[in-house]
Symmetry: C2
Subunit: 487 residues, 2 copies
């Protein structure tokens, strides 16, 4: 389609060239043509954009085909005489159900299905009850009772949609409840064969929902749970890349303006994805709990824990944001000081990133990792060394660079005179790195909770050997940092 | 209702007490009663929670009443004979429209109204066209053409819902398009008086949407734009409170553990609202553009600029998050150093908060403020002084406290020996404060853009006098910081 469009645009442009420099009428024509070409170009660009969206995620194309298939199948009830005679004009409800219920993810489809059937049934029973009472009350009171009950129940159901727990799970059900109750209680006043209508409606809705569930779950199903899993593990990698990227870049260039390198910048900005994906995660976690067991996830997989992990990741990402701000700040550190901090800072950051990546791998494989404890230990050691380096600041200037006594003396003089302004950047960087390490530990904790809740397989190598390596003191330190963090 | 429930619970508990220590049958009864009491208690708590939600925002109650009113009004079409004779059984569509279209905010209602009417009309025309072609093609091809066109158009419309611009504005319209096209093209095959049905359907939908618009816009309307405005300005205040709160608390207590004070903590955590309100803001901004002029907002009020302001606020909030992390970190600064930094840090933070609050006032009054420039100037001066203090660090120990030469000498010795670890917290704090100042300037810029776009009234006092006070050098500095920030 995009290709065809391009052809049209070219042909039109050729005509404009021919028309140039002729009579007024021709100028008018060319104006009109320019406008049409403009519109066609806009349309072409729009179509191209749409096409690219589909190419980036071909499952979107598949979803569209699935909707088409479900709809065509259900419309057979109309086209085929025997089937039509079975359900009659109410087949319309099956078509409507397919259109309204069919969603991109399996979870959303199932949630809407259950909500639609539940809401319809509940409202149906209630409406029959009210209708029965109204009929007993006599002709005068019948519309009154019907009207008042409609007013009260519709208001109450509308209000229930404001309650967060109901909003999250049964919003659509409440809507369908109001819809069905209104339709039945109102038509009850006019249509006499109400029972028959209600039975047929329930029947057609069930046909529609079954069609949706079958098509949604059998043809390339998209699981909300799987999506959430991929999103969170992918974000872990992005976090690791951002963290490592920004610090590495800071120490590899003397000029912070080199941060404008495009390829790297894209990687650096991964943490922004972490910060901005809360809404998607909430929706996915909400839908995932409707889904049956799929892939390596059980029915009651602890999806909520993914939200906790994501929250700890966002905490870490805000710190990275501040870190990048500090790196780009005005108070540049002198190269000499940066050089001294370089190796240990990079070690902290590399250990940190490896740990985050290992967490991502743990989650992907759903297997407890034997490496995590070693990586935490290495990260703690590196952080401790960073602290030690800061503590020994008056000796910060690298002794290996001083070849004679004169130079050393110069440096001793220099080290006392180093103004705080010059070290503010590296001190802030170190301080934020220590904070990030503390926050990464929160991520580790959240992932460990997930591994317990979801009963991840145990790691293959021996855990004990690793656990014994961690001294009790270190554990205490970790606890202190974690406590501090939680406050 | 809540009161009644409590009464029931009490009475039931009394019965259980009486039943204690009797025969087995009575124990069984008491078990059942305990269960019922438990359920009643759960129900009571749920109702209480729901009631509190309503009390916190009484407009939710009003919205429910509005839905009830609109629904009762529209159901009159059924109950009143003359009206019923006018539109017949199709009055059902009016009821359905009211239920589906009526939303909490005016913007959402209008958006859904326009989408519903637009989608229905477009699909109607297309369906008639296809139907006409199919009939011309003969009996054999009729279901084939109808089926293929349904498949293609439904797939295309479903795909269009993945395109962000369409998703944001016309998602519901696309759904209604598919719905109407399917219904008409399918019933077209069976129902002969299609034109009449379509006319009546459009007519009843218009009745339903009019009812919604009238009730939604006349009875205590809730404007999405107004909500967005209140949310963003409120978040500005929360940001200012958090910023001022955390730094003030840090300097007022020597122990950081005092941060656990509940009342203060709530204020401190205001910045988390800023971080987490992105989804709400996006939705509100999206709905606000459908709304007509209301209050002090014109039809084309620059709602998108609110999102930009909110983005700059979130940037600032992540820095505050890091700042709070640093304040709670392990490396506590000695009281003496904190004391020296106290007054100037508090000045920076107070100026910063005042500036943010002034921005909130500017937005609330929709009047350019004459104070903003002065406040920026003061904030810059304070930040400069903070930098100067850091620069003069070797003289950081307050000379006013040294009363004799001996003490001074001691202090001179002390100041050289101060380990970096001891100043890391205050240096990081200062560094983050400087970063926060730079980010606050981005908020100022975004609000100024809004004031230009929305044509805020000019301030009453003379602007020139203020503008002249700012030296060109200062402006340059600001520009440099801003540029740095944008990178």
């Amino acid at each position: 389609m995009a290709h065809n469009n391009k052809g049209v645009v070219k042909r039109v442009e050729w005509r404009i060239n021919v028309g140039d420099g002729s009579s007024n009428q021709r100028v008018g024509h060319s104006c009109m043509w320019t406008m049409i070409v403009g519109l066609a170009l806009k349309l072409y660009l729009f179509m191209k954009k749409a096409w690219d969206i589909g190419l980036n995620d071909p499952r979107k194309f598949i979803h569209c085909l699935k909707v088409g298939i479900a709809l065509t199948c259900v419309s057979l009830f109309y086209y085929l005489k025997p089937l039509y005679d079975g359900v009659g004009g109410n087949a319309m409800w099956a078509v409507m159900t397919v259109i309204v219920v069919f969603e991109n993810t399996a979870g959303a489809t199932i949630s809407k299905t259950i909500n639609r059937i539940g809401g319809t049934s509940l409202a149906g029973f209630l409406a029959f009850g009210v209708n029965w009472v109204a009929r007993r009350a006599g002709n005068e009171f019948e519309p009154l009772i019907a009207g008042v009950s409609l007013f009260l129940l519709a208001s109450a159901a509308t209000f229930s949609r404001f309650i967060p727990t109901i909003k999250a799970r049964f919003d659509y059900g409440a809507l369908i409840f109001i819809l069905t109750f209104s339709l039945i209680s109102i038509s009850g006043y006019r249509v006499d064969e109400l029972m028959n209508m209600a039975r047929q409606r329930i029947f057609t809705i069930i046909i529609g929902t079954c069609m949706c569930i079958i098509v949604s779950l059998t043809i390339c199903p998209i699981w909300a749970g799987q999506e959430l899993h991929v999103l969170v593990t992918g974000n872990l990698d992005k976090l690791a890349n951002s963290l490592q990227g920004c610090v590495t870049q800071y120490f590899s260039h003397s000029e912070a303006s080199a941060v404008s390198d495009e390829e790297c910048n894209k990687k650096l900005l991964g943490y922004k994805c972490v910060l901005s994906s809360k809404a998607t995660e909430d929706v996915m976690a909400n839908l995932a709990r409707w889904e049956p067991a799929h892939g390596c996830f059980n029915f009651r997989h602890p999806w909520k824990q993914y939200l906790k992990i994501a929250a700890t990741m966002r905490n870490c990402a805000s710190c990275i944001d501040a870190l990048i701000g500090c790196i780009n700040s005005e108070n540049k550190a002198p190269d000499q000081i940066k050089k001294n901090m370089r190796s240990i800072s990079l070690r902290v950051v590399t250990n940190c990133s490896s740990l985050i990546r290992e967490l991502a791998i743990t989650m992907r494989n759903m297997t407890k990792s034997s490496k995590v404890d070693i990586l935490i230990m290495e990260m703690n050691n590196a952080t401790q060394e960073l602290s030690d380096l800061l503590k020994s600041y008056p000796n910060l200037i690298d002794p290996s660079e001083s070849h004679n006594a004169q130079d050393t003396q110069k440096e001793v003089a220099a080290k006392i005179e180093i103004p705080v302004m010059e070290i503010i950047q590296v001190v802030t960087l170190a301080s934020l790195l220590i904070e990030i390490v503390a926050r990464v530990k929160c991520i580790v904790k959240a992932v460990e909770e997930l591994s317990d809740l979801a009963k991840f397989k145990a790691a293959k190598s021996k855990q004990h050997a690793v656990e014994n390596k961690i001294s009790p003191d270190q554990e205490k330190d970790e606890e202190a940092i974690n406590k501090n963090q939680i406050v």
